[in-house]
């Protein structure tokens, strides 16, 4: 019995020995961590690592998780052709450690380090960033800080680039669409409440509570719209935990920390990377859901109006989607992304 504790420690250390386990195959499934600013970010690379093309998922949130995008359709259309890096941001998903305060700078530095490690591990693979929601803001901030030299393309799905402007788009869309629904008699009481709430919020508000109200209502109204197909909850944590061996307690704790951070309360409202991303010259595809009230399709127009190089910029609006086209219309979404990557690399 006296030997049990040393044996246990020895076993743990031996099983935790760090050796590179890099798979170059058409069907890879590697998990590793990237240590950055007090946090060990979890990265799961799946798919065809022989392709030399790595699509990095920059998930939403803050506090979401990347494997939410790992749908069967992503396996079928993306992973069969390219490698997909599902990385969890700090205080999110399967990342762990003691991160300290969250900030846009640390989020962007993390992304930079993840890209560096991916290129190091996978023979300088070409990097395509596929961002969603907050991931769009983060990717835009990454470009504005570190440039576009290490990235070959950007797919921005339902992302915000100017937080305050995006919230205003959401508020206006909720009011205009809501008024139409009231006139048609669809969910009249529910829409009336939402429209009145939004009208009481001043335009371009920077109040975190008011912006949070717009965001919450944007998610909520998707339940009232029958045209949105395949409504899946973005908080499907059980699925995530089962697929990735991340304890649900860790997942929820990360989510709670991110959603109640000072970053959410004080910093995110001020982030505006629209002007900087308008200078990008790399291929870009902006995808939005027609019924996205959280990050409305008006973002496309706002970007297009000031984009310097529009020749390799394209956009698409999914008619039956809300804030998450990769879940609402997964077949169409992944087909479109796979084709766009093929055409632009």
């Amino acid at each position: 019995m006296k030997l049990f504790i040393p044996i246990l420690f020895l076993l743990a250390i031996l099983t935790a020995c760090q050796k590179e386990d890099i798979t170059l195959s058409p069907n890879a499934n590697d998990i590793f961590y990237v240590r950055t600013n007090g946090q060990d970010l979890r990265v799961n690379v799946q798919g065809n690592t022989l392709s030399g093309i790595m699509v990095v998922i920059v998930h939403g949130g803050p506090g979401g998780w990347s494997s939410l995008y790992n749908t069967p359709e992503a396996d079928k259309y993306l992973e069969s052709n390219y490698a997909i890096a599902y990385y969890d941001q700090r205080s999110a998903g399967g990342s762990q450690g003691n991160a300290g305060n969250l900030s846009m700078e640390t989020y962007s530095t993390d992304l930079k380090n993840v890209i560096a490690v991916l290129r190091h591990r996978y023979n300088n693979a070409k990097i395509m960033l596929l961002s969603h929601s907050f991931g769009g803001l983060l990717t835009g901030d990454y470009f504005s800080r570190f440039g576009q030299t290490t990235v070959s393309g950007w797919i921005n799905s339902d992302g915000a680039l100017n937080f305050a402007q995006n919230s205003e788009f959401g508020r206006q869309y909720l009011i205009s669409y809501g008024e139409k629904q009231i006139a048609l008699g669809n969910k009249k009481d529910e829409w009336t409440g939402i429209v009145n709430t939004c009208k009481n919020i001043p335009a371009f508000s920077t109040s975190s509570s008011e912006l949070s109200t717009i965001n919450q209502n944007g998610h909520k109204v998707e339940d009232y719209i029958d045209s949105i197909t395949n409504k899946k909850s973005s908080s499907n944590s059980d699925y995530f935990a089962q697929q990735n061996n991340v304890p649900a307690a860790s997942l929820y704790t990360n989510k709670y920390i991110s959603e109640h951070s000072n970053f959410i309360k004080n910093e995110i409202q001020k982030v505006d990377v629209l002007q900087q991303t308008a200078q990008l010259t790399l291929p870009r595809l902006f995808i939005y859901g027609n019924y996205d009230f959280v990050c409305p399709k008006d973002n496309i127009k706002a970007y297009k109006n000031i984009a310097v190089y529009v020749i390799n910029f394209s956009s698409f609006v999914f008619a039956g989607s809300g804030h998450s086209p990769m879940l609402n219309q997964p077949e169409e979404f992944n087909k479109l992304v796979a084709k766009w990557i093929k055409d632009n690399l």
Partner: protein, 227 residues
């Protein structure tokens, strides 16, 4: 001179004396039996500690600190109604989550067990400790100069605070061992500037040191406590 108001104190003293002299393992009144251990031996404990999604083991040393008898008195008799045993449990162990991490921990727990009239007893634990995670996969770090290196034994240290509650079971004929099962809440901090909660199931066995498994004798001294 014996005052009436002091009678209760004397009764208590007699009861303690009886227990001390006779070294009762059990006390019994007309219809109930309470197990009171004769001695205060240290025990070693081994248990499964994990939950439905991951597994772990822990071993511990239990050191009894104090045993308190709760005595009920009436005109006819005095009986030991409840025995509360307090002790210190030092645990070392870990649990393993595939592709995530191995969590090693060392804890010191203050335990309190309410020995009932049956073989099953309730207990609680409150503990503090330290833990270390070892990430289950390779970990990379990007140096300021841009070079990438592997981090050996990557992981983090956390302080711990634990709370557990459960039951123990002492077989009638084998008093030197005890089975126990409890739900435990491990908390680790600072975890991202906050606290990480991890609920665990803990099921195991405790064996008294230096006590032969089947040779322990317990005597029933029913009348010793009947005044």
């Amino acid at each position: 001179m014996l005052h009436t108001k002091n009678i209760s104190r004397y009764i208590l003293l007699v009861v303690y004396t009886c227990l001390f002299i006779y070294g009762n393992s059990q006390t019994q009144n007309t219809d109930t039996t309470i197990i009171v251990r004769k001695d205060t031996m240290c025990s070693i404990a081994m248990s499964y500690t994990g939950n439905t999604t991951f597994i772990g083991l822990q071993v511990g040393l239990y050191i009894p600190l104090k045993k308190k008898l709760h005595i009920q008195q009436s005109k006819q008799y005095t009986q030991v109604n409840r025995v509360v045993e307090k002790g210190l449990l030092i645990n070392a162990g870990g649990h393993y989550i595939n592709n995530y991490h191995t969590m090693l921990f060392l804890t010191a727990n203050y335990t309190q067990e309410w020995l009932s009239k049956r073989n099953t007893h309730l207990y609680t634990q409150l503990g503090i400790g330290i833990s270390r995670t070892l990430l289950d996969e390779e970990t990379y770090q990007v140096n300021p100069n841009g070079n990438i290196q592997l981090v050996k034994n990557a992981g983090s240290y956390y302080a711990m605070l634990n709370l557990a509650t459960g039951v123990t079971y002492t077989p009638t004929k084998i008093h030197s061992i005890k089975f126990f099962g409890c739900v435990t809440m491990h908390t680790y901090f600072p975890y991202n500037g906050f606290v990480l909660f991890r609920p665990l199931l803990n099921v195991g066995i405790q064996q008294r040191i230096n006590t032969p498994l089947f040779k322990t004798r317990y005597t029933i001294k029913t009348k010793a406590l009947l005044l």
